[in-house]
Symmetry: C2
Subunit: 225 residues, 2 copies
């Protein structure tokens, strides 16, 4: 079965995956970065990622790199391939194409720790990241654009919150992703009329009027990405 030969002009390239993983922190959209421990770009910040192993599917590689480099365990449904970067000179080591993935980290996934060949892993502001290695800024730009597109449809924002949450919190997630303010009343109207939320108990935020707690309605389990 595997006995067929490849034509001679078939380029053999290094196959990599990169992951732009997002989470909410203090009302800000954060992206997960690692500090590279090896050349090239040693000590520079980069998106987690690395080479695909033989016999390994693309999404498996993405999950593995995320796990080994940042200790973040993720379900496949929170991962989506969104673009492949294959420019000839994007990597000084040779022709390396990277299949870039978008990851949405469910609320609670905050503990990160460097691993593998990295010097460390950290959450940084997605809209104001430090200087990134390779073409990772371009990758991040595209990831943000895709994330904003996805927001319109699904209940993607809910992934960033715990099981129960307040409407202002949910609005904060939207604002952090879209990077702009929204109108309170219109936001409520839209979300509630959509019927994907149900109420729970009460809650006090320590300051101001207590907010109503909501949770996602039953049967609203659309895949995150």
């Amino acid at each position: 079965m595997n006995s067929l030969a490849l034509p001679p002009q078939a380029t053999q390239v290094g196959l990599a995956v990169d992951v732009a993983a997002f989470a909410m922190h203090a009302g800000e959209l954060m992206v997960l970065l690692v500090q590279r421990g090896e050349l090239p770009h040693a000590r520079d910040w980069a998106l987690p990622g690395g080479f695909v192993h033989p016999g390994e599917e693309l999404h498996e590689a993405a999950l593995r790199e995320l796990r080994t480099e940042t200790s973040v365990e993720l379900e496949p449904r929170h991962l989506e391939q969104f673009f492949t970067f294959g420019e000839v000179n994007r990597d000084p080591r040779g022709r390396i194409v990277s299949v870039a993935h978008l990851a949405v980290l469910p609320h609670g996934t905050v503990s990160v720790s460097g691993g593998g060949h990295t010097l460390g892993a950290e959450w940084v502001s997605a809209h104001r990241p430090p200087r990134l290695a390779f073409d990772h800024q371009a990758i991040l730009d595209r990831a943000l654009a895709r994330l904003q597109l996805r927001l319109e449809y699904a209940n993607l924002a809910l992934e960033f919150l715990p099981d129960t949450f307040t409407l202002p919190e949910l609005q904060g997630v939207f604002e952090a992703i879209l990077n702009r303010k929204l109108d309170k009343r219109n936001f409520r109207k839209r979300l509630l009329s959509q019927g994907t939320l149900t109420v729970s108990g009460e809650r006090r935020s320590g300051v101001g009027r207590p907010a109503q707690l909501y949770r996602r309605a039953k049967g609203t389990r659309t895949p995150a990405l």
Copy 2:
């Protein structure tokens, strides 16, 4: 510069591109296929595509394969990468990842002729293609979905028509891509209120009332994809 070594576990894979190229014919959305001349899948139909050459950008490879296999010359602005297929066993020759591209053929590009290693090239119904080689049916499915998404925004449909055209013709393009009928009057309203069309002379279709001819308004050159 190129002196850095790749880590040993870095998978070397074959890098390919495939192109789902669409055009209108007799009111139907057509996709461009080639009949394979070599193993595997010899004599089966497939999307045009092949291996990326060393030092060649992805989109260059896509354009080259299209040119050599089907004699279709295309501008880069009519090409868009939309997904990368990298399943481990998608190709019996080994690990081959294919970066799939969507192409919109401007009106007039009809003459196709087989070339390269193919037995021939042909236009077939995009919604009812024959059995395809490899995972090309999955690629086609995704290409159609993307095409339908794109339709909403841009003047993508105009790419399928000559410089001057009638509104019913334009509506036919929409219907062919969306694979469903549209309302005549609402379609006019939408398109004309958009202000991207201007009028020209008249024209008779041989049967029924002659239709007004339109052309795209000046300064409406948004990139096709």
